[in-house]
């Protein structure tokens, strides 16, 4: 119950991570909870709704307004609380959350998952209703954002091919390219991802385009350069997550580099890990998640059980476990230590501490490295927004 309240925009990712950590506790005692496909599908669907919402909100509430600041005439159609397309985007994000809420009861702060499965027990008509909401969002993305069908968009292996001035993404990409955004916001070109996502269900890191297996046990949370009170050094509440002492970028760009997505790999070849690649990756993920959710809705078998109850109550177990989720902004890790059913220790490593960790001048963290050498505060601000640094999850 507490964990969704860690963060209002990623609440269901936190629910999932906690439940996965508890299920891992069972697994480490040799108890396999055997989730049904239905339960797994519903968890993923609810999570997809949250991610799609996140991505659309970020693009329309953060990125476009920044571009609007630079060029009012070009981006006038997306002004918040004023223009048609902004209202359409707001409607799309609330519709995709309706799709999710059919299964989670509400968003944010549902408590739809339990060890062994999910709490809802949908009917065919609920699935149909969910499809309708998904259709609405798909239509918005096709008409406004991409200017082509989701399938066509997913087929593209060169984003710059798409550009014919038809869609908002076109407009943004062309404008960012003209403004030199393919040259700024570069970091280490090092990526990592631990959770399940398209085509990749094992921990992998990438140094530029080369992939390496990784193991979560080498992840460390460092307080080295964090100061929890205002001292002369300036202060920050952020901790840092490092893998074998090195900073890695997490998030959609990392996921798509690791899953060798042709469009993003192509974009990376031209623009490396600049803001433009980071932004395109996140917008691309919307299409992938829509497609994936559509498949899930086709395949859910409502005849299966929603929940396979654990034979032992949590209150009888002593164990420890790790839960990993690929949230909108990247890998989210929950670690949990249980003694006789009581949680004695709980540790959360949210995506933002990977990207916004605190380095030193000689060894800057991901986002720090990306802003070094920029000519203005505005540029730095934009680069920060491309990572969508989330202050809420940092301070937990």
């Amino acid at each position: 119950m507490i964990t969704p309240r860690v963060c209002g925009i990623c609440s269901h990712s936190h629910v999932n991570a906690t439940i996965l950590a508890i299920e891992d506790c069972y697994k480490n005692l040799g108890i396999d909870l055997k989730l049904t496909n239905k339960a797994k599908y519903i968890r993923e669907l609810v999570l997809n709704a949250e991610k799609i919402q996140n991505h659309i909100k970020w693009f329309y509430f953060l990125i476009l307004p920044e571009l609007f600041k630079i060029n009012k005439a070009k981006f006038a159609q997306t002004e918040a609380f004023k223009d048609k397309e902004w209202f359409e985007a707001q409607n799309a994000l609330s519709s995709i959350l309706k799709m999710g809420a059919i299964f989670s009861g509400q968003w944010p702060h549902g408590s739809y998952a339990m060890s062994g499965g999910v709490t809802c027990d949908p009917l065919e008509s609920d699935i149909l209703n969910a499809k309708n909401y998904l259709f609405e969002v798909k239509e918005f993305c096709e008409e406004r954002l991409y200017g082509c069908s989701i399938d066509e968009f997913l087929e593209l292996d060169n984003i710059f091919d798409l550009i014919d001035g038809n869609s908002t993404l076109d407009l943004a990409v062309t404008f960012m390219k003209e403004s030199g955004f393919d040259k700024i916001g570069k970091s280490y070109d090092r990526f990592i991802s631990f959770g399940d996502h398209k085509g990749v269900n094992e921990p992998v890191k990438a140094l530029k385009t080369r992939l390496f297996k990784t193991d979560i046990k080498f992840v460390e949370e460092s307080l080295k350069n964090s100061f929890f009170d205002s001292s002369e050094k300036g202060f920050t509440y952020s901790k840092s997550a490092v893998y074998k002492d090195k900073f890695y970028e997490v998030g959609p760009l990392a996921r798509l580099m690791i899953s060798k997505d042709p469009m993003i790999r192509d974009c990376h070849r031209r623009c490396t890990d600049s803001v433009i690649t980071r932004i395109i990756a996140r917008v691309k993920e919307i299409a992938m998640l829509l497609k994936r959710s559509e498949n899930i809705l086709e395949n859910i078998d409502i005849g299966e059980k929603s929940l396979t109850a654990p034979k032992y109550m949590p209150k009888d177990i002593s164990s420890q476990g790790v839960g990993v989720v690929e949230a909108a902004r990247g890998t989210l890790i929950h670690k949990i230590w249980v003694e006789e059913g009581k949680i004695v220790k709980f540790d959360i490593i949210p995506p933002t501490v990977w990207n916004l960790g605190n380095g030193t001048p000689l060894n800057p963290a991901i986002a720090q490295k990306a802003i070094i050498g920029l000519s203005s505060i505005e540029e730095a601000d934009f680069v920060f927004k491309s990572f969508d640094i989330c202050s809420v999850c940092t301070t937990q």
Binding site: G8, S11, F61, F87
Partner: protein, 299 residues
């Protein structure tokens, strides 16, 4: 866009928060109508025409101050662009007609109050005790909920704007919303009447009161009347109500209804004698229909 009435102005600030109330508000389903009635002068998550500095140094009057998140006077807990939370509140609260404490944190202290019950409170309450950040403030309206429902917020704003009567309960919550219980409109009511519990999570059948600790009968809110995200609610999706609109949220024992010598807690405002008598009677009958699956598959 038609604009016959001048728009009312809103300034939105945050104490200690997870942003959940803001994100819940962004789901509001008639946003165009909202925008036709109100103008958000400042919101920390939106790119508004004015920044915080400009708002604080202006002398303009605004109509509504919306506060999201727990209140604190401790500077280290909240720092917004160099201002403490107290500076924000002192500066703005005098220049508005109404102060809306949006969400359980702003109303009663909520989940963040668990960390420091002395220094982290709600606006006018600390838990269910009167006296939070202020001891008195006539402008305050509490709209608890973790998170707030977008309609609770916008409906209240519209009632104020239209100068209709807004009745408040003893915790300063709008009665239109908080005279209802989450139990009202729950699809499991018949199971509750006959005291038939759900066998397990993940089923349409059965009430979540005894085994799963549903707080529906004690929690003031119209969740099952207007639904969440317009489609569902916790109990409809099979998870028990956690009582998130009440001053005692978060409670330590969730997912269990306190049984006193195997007698369960009673619904709000119903005497123990009445409740246990009815329970005893209901339990002494077996209702076959309710013991079966809602939809039986007969081949």
């Amino acid at each position: 866009m038609s604009n016959f009435h001048p728009k009312k102005t809103i300034v939105w600030i945050q104490g200690i928060t997870c942003n959940g109330d803001s994100h819940s508000f962004f789901n509001y389903s008639s946003m165009k109508s909202f925008a036709n009635n109100f103008e958000i002068i400042y919101h920390p998550l939106l790119l508004t025409d004015y920044n915080l500095e400009e708002i604080l140094t202006s002398r303009d009057k605004y109509d509504y101050l919306i506060i999201e998140g727990s209140f604190t006077k401790v500077r280290d807990y909240v720092d917004r662009c160099g201002y403490s939370f107290e500076e924000l509140v002192e500066n703005l609260s005098k220049r508005v007609d109404y102060i809306i404490c949006a969400g359980t944190c702003a109303s009663f202290g909520g989940i963040f109050r668990e960390r420091d019950k002395i220094n982290i409170t709600g606006g006018l309450f600390s838990g269910d005790k009167e006296g939070g950040y202020w001891s008195k403030n006539k402008k305050v309206i509490n709209i608890p909920g973790c998170p707030i429902h977008p309609r609770w917020l916008v409906d209240t704003l519209l009632i104020l704007k239209d100068e209709k009567k807004l009745l408040l309960d003893e915790f300063l919550r709008p009665k239109e919303v908080f005279s209802y219980f989450v139990h009202h409109g729950c699809l499991r009511n018949e199971y509750f009447e006959w005291k038939i519990d759900t066998k397990n999570f993940g089923e349409k059948e059965g009430c979540l009161f005894y085994e799963q600790g549903c707080r529906g009968p004690m929690t003031h809110a119209n969740c099952n009347k207007i639904l969440w995200n317009e489609v569902s609610s916790k109990t409809r999706a099979g998870s028990p109500c956690l009582g998130c609109t009440e001053p005692d949220f978060p409670r330590t024992s969730v997912y269990e209804t306190k049984t006193r010598m195997s007698l369960p807690a009673v619904p709000y405002g119903i005497s123990k004698r009445a409740y246990y008598t009815v329970t005893g009677v209901a339990k002494s009958f077996r209702v076959d229909r309710l013991e079966q699956k809602l939809i039986e598959e007969k081949r």
